[in-house]
């Protein structure tokens, strides 16, 4: 926390007025506005008292506003209760309604081993294992000097083995994500500077355990490491710890840093719950560079290796790091396009260039209008956008017009810009697919395609020109991560919007009569990667489509028909007489609404949730468009998934 010291008087008065206003809005049933104000209140004053207020009001709002529900269990060896309200308030600011279960002190081993424990009855989406070194590896903590090097080494090995067994048992009972705290090193080694002179000192052994834990984690699906040792180091061990609190209440963390613990957990919860940002739109003047290009000119703007330009280079480096994680960059700037483009393309100090931006809006139009256009052009929802601008006025305008957008509050000092971007949990990812790493290039190819489309008389001519080639294959260990990711991220062309984690997909792939297909697409402009998923299961003579989705960047070029044609054909080959599927409408999946009808399905029933469609496979079929070359890749998916990693 940058400034734990009290706020000024006027802010104080404002804050209590704000609480009254929020309660007034709730009383008037203005829930969306109340929810926005509550978020703002939290951003302005993220403190323990505010957290209590926010969580109590979230209780009143949770069923009235659109929040993503998420269940987190915390297994622990220390007092975490005061962290929980801060955690729930911070999650709320990211649009997540977080329910938290806290395990008893030091019962994490029993909780993991016992399939009937309160941990599993809670049915968590994710579990944090917040265990400290003094508990996990007592030999390596206070009394280290009492042990021989051999005994200490054995203790380290025993710790890793214990974690491995705990995780294996956990995976038997739960598909939830598991987040392991790494073990922290003591702030003062028992043997002083002698400790670091060997690999088997106190620090060396704890580092060894952490390395091994990371290795064990990668052997299982959905098990992740949280570098607690690095988190403590980032804030400074002496600041982070409060020995008085530890001895009296078993809370090891000082009051000013409890929030940082909560934030670190939220960095995992946001990507796990799918509330991620896909596109970051940035301003140019005084954001990407110092100064105003239209006034200061090429030689006047500040960006380079020296101060003050170095602050802007640091921000640009942070943006390039996001782009490597698959987050698209866009420009939203009030400028003359020629001036801005010259700086983007030619200024010697720039690290980010025009080619790194998937969409450019350099004009004098209102920024919220530009953001809407950027979302349209890149085929993402408004809620997948983040906005970066040094001007508080622009930020408030965007917040008011487009409350779904993640608006990053830039601090006054440009030296802090880069960390403001890096600290935004919306940009966190837990896995990276090949598609993520190449996304910027793919969008560049997409721009060429859109240009080409305009030169054709008919859609068919354009489709033929594209020379699309699709590859269909059962899910495998290679594609599992991407398949799960698509079920979590795809909103528009998604018939049922069922979200699955990696372990859940792996589990389904093993079930008899279930089939999981993925489709990859390439065309004359480049490779789109894995863009579609279909999951079906046979019930007697009927094959039901559980999931059918397509990444938004390939909607409307008939790949969906090719995929459906394959489902129908393979179901018929297995002896099924009907292919059926639900369409479950959401706010966003209108593009998929008429899909079954357009392909000759008849509506069989409808209820409050959606409609069930059916195709008689004995009388009709779905034809694969002749302009798509469809390759079937056969592989025994289940064995590959099984062999890929331990269960």
């Amino acid at each position: 926390m940058s400034d734990p010291v009290s706020n000024s008087t006027s802010a104080e008065g404002n804050l209590s007025n704000r609480r009254a206003q929020i309660d007034g809005l709730i009383a008037e049933s203005a829930f969306d506005e109340a929810s926005r104000r509550l978020s703002t209140l939290w951003r302005r004053d993220p403190a323990t008292g505010t957290a209590s207020f926010v969580t109590s009001r979230v209780e009143q709002l949770r069923e009235k506003v659109a929040l993503t529900k998420f269940r987190l269990a915390i297994l622990r060896s220390f007092t975490v209760e005061p962290i929980v309200p801060l955690l729930r308030a911070e999650a709320f600011a990211y649009g997540i309604d977080l329910e938290v279960h806290v395990g008893d002190f030091d019962t994490y081993v029993q909780d993991m081993l016992d399939g009937e424990s309160s941990l599993y009855r809670f049915e968590p989406d994710a579990v944090v294992m917040a265990v400290r070194t003094d508990r996990a590896a007592p030999e390596l903590w206070r009394d280290f000097a009492d042990y021989t090097p051999e005994a200490a080494q054995q203790a380290a090995e025993r710790v890793v083995k214990g974690y491995g067994q705990g995780i294996a048992a956990f995976r038997k009972h739960s598909q939830a994500a598991l987040i392991l705290h790494s073990l922290e090193r003591p702030s003062a080694a028992a043997l002083g500077i002698l400790d670091d002179q060997s690999e088997t000192g106190q620090s060396g052994l704890i580092r060894q355990i952490n390395r091994e834990l990371r290795r064990v984690a990668t052997e299982f699906r959905g098990v992740y490491s949280l570098d607690y040792d690095a988190l403590v180091a980032r804030h400074g061990s002496r600041q982070w710890h409060d020995e008085r609190k530890w001895l009296t209440t078993r809370l090891p963390i000082a009051a000013a840093y409890v929030l940082e613990m909560a934030r670190e957990w939220v960095r995992f919860i946001v990507p796990l719950s799918g509330r991620t940002v896909k596109v970051l739109a940035v301003d140019l003047d005084n954001t990407l560079w110092g100064g105003v290009i239209g006034e200061d000119g090429m030689s006047g703007i500040k960006v380079g290796t020296e101060y003050p330009g170095a602050a802007y280079q640091a921000l640009q480096r942070a943006l390039l790091d996001l782009s490597r994680k698959g987050i698209l960059l866009a420009v939203s700037s009030k400028n003359n396009p020629d001036d801005a483009m010259e700086a983007l393309e030619k200024h010697p100090g720039m690290l980010v260039r025009a080619k790194h931006f998937a969409a450019l809006r350099i004009n004098w139009t209102d920024k919220s209008q530009n953001l809407r256009e950027i979302a349209d052009e890149l085929n993402v929802g408004i809620d997948a956008l983040a906005f970066l601008d040094d001007n508080p006025f622009e930020r408030e305008m965007v917040r008011a017009a487009l409350p779904e957008v993640t608006v990053i509050d830039l601090p006054g000092n440009p030296l802090e810009y880069a960390s403001a971007v890096r600290n935004c949990a919306g940009f966190e990812r837990l896995t990276l697919s090949a598609e993520d790493q190449q996304r910027t290039e793919m969008y560049a190819a997409q721009k060429q395609r859109s240009g080409a489309e305009q030169n054709f008389q008919s859609k068919e001519d354009f489709f033929r020109f594209l020379e699309q080639e699709a590859e269909l294959e059962p899910v495998s260990a290679m594609t599992l991560a991407r398949v799960a990711q698509l079920t979590q991220k795809t909103n528009q062309f998604n018939l049922t919007t069922r979200r699955y984690t990696e372990p859940q997909v792996a589990e389904m792939a093993k079930l008899p009569h279930w089939h999981i297909f993925s489709i990859k697409l390439r065309d004359r402009f480049g490779d789109h990667g894995l863009v579609g998923v279909a999951i079906t299961h046979d019930e007697g003579e009927q094959c039901e489509v559980d999931t059918f989705l397509l990444s938004c960047r390939v909607i409307g070029r008939t790949v969906e028909t090719a995929l459906l044609a394959h489902l129908a054909e393979s179901a018929a080959q297995r002896g099924c007489k009907h292919l059926v599927g639900w369409f479950l409408p959401t706010k966003k999946n209108a593009p998929a609404r008429d899909f079954y009808q357009q392909h000759g399905f008849e509506r069989r029933e409808a209820n409050g949730l959606g409609s069930l469609w059916s195709l008689d496979l004995q009388r009709s079929a779905v034809r694969c468009p002749d302009w798509i070359k469809l390759n079937l890749k056969h592989s025994n998916s289940t064995t590959e998934v099984r062999a890929g990693r331990k269960e």
Partner: protein, 82 residues
């Protein structure tokens, strides 16, 4: 004029115990506030430390028997730090 320490402590207590600020008095204590259990007491301690950038000793925490005592403690520690 700065807001008095008591008022600041009162608004923290109002948030943490979930009662309107005008219902919190100097005499409010675990006997009069239903929610004031040991866990909320820890939250109150953390909120006070955070707000006034203090670190309270276990002996200080024992003195926090009602809201008036909390405000007096904060003022004492602040003037000692000056």
């Amino acid at each position: 004029m700065t807001e008095s320490t008591f008022d600041q402590v009162r608004s923290i207590a109002s948030d943490i115990f979930g009662i309107p600020a005008d219902k919190v008095t100097a005499e409010s204590s675990p006997e009069t506030i239903e929610n004031w259990d040991s866990m909320q007491h820890l939250n109150l301690v953390l909120a006070i430390e955070e707000k006034f950038a203090l670190q309270l000793e276990p002996e200080d925490i024992e003195q926090m028997k009602n809201i008036g005592a909390v405000a007096a403690l904060v003022e004492k520690l602040q003037s000692a730090a000056r």
